[in-house]
């Protein structure tokens, strides 16, 4: 619990402290600290294998960091002792924290046996225990917002990739998340379908939602994020306001990374 003294100081919504993660002998994250304040949009960029997706997945403990702290809204996520077998120590706390974080995956990961509407309603009903009529109304409003209200009763497999990803965003919105995580949300989409998803994410950014975004799309990162973090081999190589990171990169690696992206 946050003490009165702390809450008046308003801790940043998300704090990662000295995050380390290895898979076997492969060291993917080598000590990363990162914060995101209320209403901030942070883009994680970097080449494949730089650890940006793993870092994102450490935020809601889909990957448990071997070392380091994850603090959400001033509350540290309880974990067992450090090492490769580390896991969440308090299942209840983990579920509560997770139920406030909306995650959007590269491959959508909608539950294929449920209609789109049921997908959006599932977590509010079964995890948050909210009232059905209210959730249904909100779910329909969210589907309206992402522009696929007419697909509410369809199954995910009957939707295009762009529609599925927008449904997944509606699913994330319907839990009233205080933090949203996007893991390469457009990488599995055909270029002509990317736009519809990017428009929705941009809309959310303009609403002042707190978001952490892993993306390959530099143009998009630049236009949507306030801050960009460039990862290289499991460490933060450079970070700052997007204007500086994209406009005047200091590190040579970032300069090369951005130059390579422009030709791609």
């Amino acid at each position: 619990m946050i003490s009165a003294a702390n809450s008046s100081a308003q801790p940043p919504l998300l704090q990662l402290e000295d995050i380390h993660k290895s898979f076997g002998t492969l060291e993917v994250l080598r000590g990363i600290s990162l914060t995101a304040g209320e209403g901030e949009v942070v883009a994680l960029i970097g080449s494949s294998g730089s650890g940006k997706s793993t870092l994102l997945r450490c935020i809601n403990l889909l990957e448990v960091p071997d070392r380091g702290r994850v603090v959400i809204g001033g509350e540290a996520v309880a974990m067992t002792s450090e090492g490769p077998h580390r896991r969440a120590a308090d299942e209840k706390q983990l579920r509560r924290i997770r139920s406030g974080i909306g995650m959007v995956f590269q491959s959508f990961n909608l539950w294929s046996h449920m209609s789109v509407l049921d997908n959006v309603m599932a977590a509010p009903l079964q995890v948050q225990g909210r009232e059905k009529a209210e959730v249904r109304e909100e779910a329909l409003a969210m589907l309206e917002k992402v522009g696929i209200a007419q697909k509410a009763d369809a199954f995910p497999a009957q939707l295009s990739g762009g529609q599925q990803q927008r449904a997944a965003i509606a699913r994330a919105l319907c839990i009233n998340p205080r933090l949203m995580l996007f893991d390469e949300p457009t990488s599995a989409l055909d270029p002509e379908l990317e736009g519809e998803v990017l428009r929705v994410i941009r809309l959310l950014a303009e609403e002042g939602r707190t978001m952490v975004l892993v993306t390959h799309d530099m143009e998009f990162a630049r236009s949507v994020a306030r801050r960009a973090v460039f990862l290289h081999e499991g460490l933060i190589e450079e970070e700052g306001p997007v204007r500086e990171v994209f406009g005047a990169p200091r590190s040579e690696r970032l300069q090369r990374f951005l130059a390579a992206g422009q030709h791609a």
């Binding site: 974080i101 995650m103 959508f108 046996h113 995890v127 497999a157």
Partner: protein, 283 residues
């Protein structure tokens, strides 16, 4: 039964048809027909048990706790290799004697036991006499244990075929482990499991022909009795060895069960496949 027919029908049928109608509806034949219930009950109850043991076994095989996992693996791998006939004989007897042994340690006085040296059960009061229904229940559980091992194997594979990303999404949204297991993994695995489960179900149906081993007078025993050369004191030889006719009827009965099962599984597959990309790719 012949006297139950309305007069106009009895007159219209003719003597020969009436004779056969009377023959096929005599008390022994009616008993044969009603013994179908044992087969059907054993199949349904055994099937339910197999599904229960299968889910349990699959859950154990997939468990994170090593002892549980080992026990699950031992069950799945060993029981699948045991001949069902043998297990069918072993389990009800072992269970019966186990109950009697436990009962005897409570009921029997030392004097009783001393009075019955080397006898089983140790004292008459501990004797558990099993009737048809008790044997039927034990038979169903035996079927459930044997075919549950196959079911567990099928379900274990099917659970692992559920896309990882969907399981991960459920975890990311705060679903508990048991919610993820039941609402996502078990709910989705049917489309992968049903082809294998229909095989196990047909094997289980076939094994119901073994009920007579447990002193249950089932359709197979009745067919043997009714088909055997038949004498009556008044009429002499009623018919010679007709067993193969009777067994043929049973064969047709099992063909019919198979046909109905396939229909049932087709309907289940349609249900399980709603919205699933796997099913649409198959269709």
């Amino acid at each position: 039964m012949v006297d139950l027919l309305p007069a106009w029908l009895a007159d219209g049928l003719g003597d020969e048809a009436l004779f056969w109608f009377g023959y096929l509806t005599d008390g022994r034949h009616l008993a044969w027909y009603s013994s179908v219930q044992f087969t059907l009950i054993a199949a349904l109850l055994g099937g339910l048990c197999a599904l229960g043991f299968g889910l349990l076994g699959a859950g154990m095989v997939g468990s994170r706790a090593l002892p549980v996992r080992l026990f699950g693996k031992a069950y799945v791998n060993m029981v699948r290799g045991v001949p069902d006939v043998l297990f069918f004989l072993f389990f009800p007897l072992a269970f019966e004697q186990g109950v009697e042994w436990m009962a005897s340690s409570v009921i029997c006085s030392p004097e009783d036991i001393a009075a019955n040296p080397g006898r089983w059960p140790p004292c008459p009061a501990a004797n558990w006499i099993l009737g048809t229904w008790e044997y039927l229940l034990l038979a169903s559980v035996s079927l459930g244990i044997v075919y549950g091992a196959f079911t567990a194997n099928v379900i274990h594979g099917a659970l692992n075929a559920v896309p990882r990303g969907q399981i991960e999404a459920a975890r990311a949204y705060g679903f508990s482990a048991s919610q993820v297991f039941w609402r996502i993994r078990v709910r989705q695995m049917w489309i992968y499991a049903l082809p294998g489960l229909s095989n196990v179900w047909l094997l289980l149906i076939k094994a119901t022909a073994l009920l007579s081993l447990l002193q249950i007078v089932d359709i197979v025993s009745w067919a043997g009795r009714l088909g055997a050369p038949n004498f009556t004191p008044s009429a002499g030889l009623v018919h010679p060895d007709w067993r193969w006719y009777y067994y043929l009827v049973l064969l047709l009965f099992y063909v019919l069960l198979t046909f109905l099962s396939e229909k049932g599984f087709a309907a289940l597959t349609r249900w399980a496949g709603r919205g699933m990309a796997v099913a649409e790719a198959r269709a």
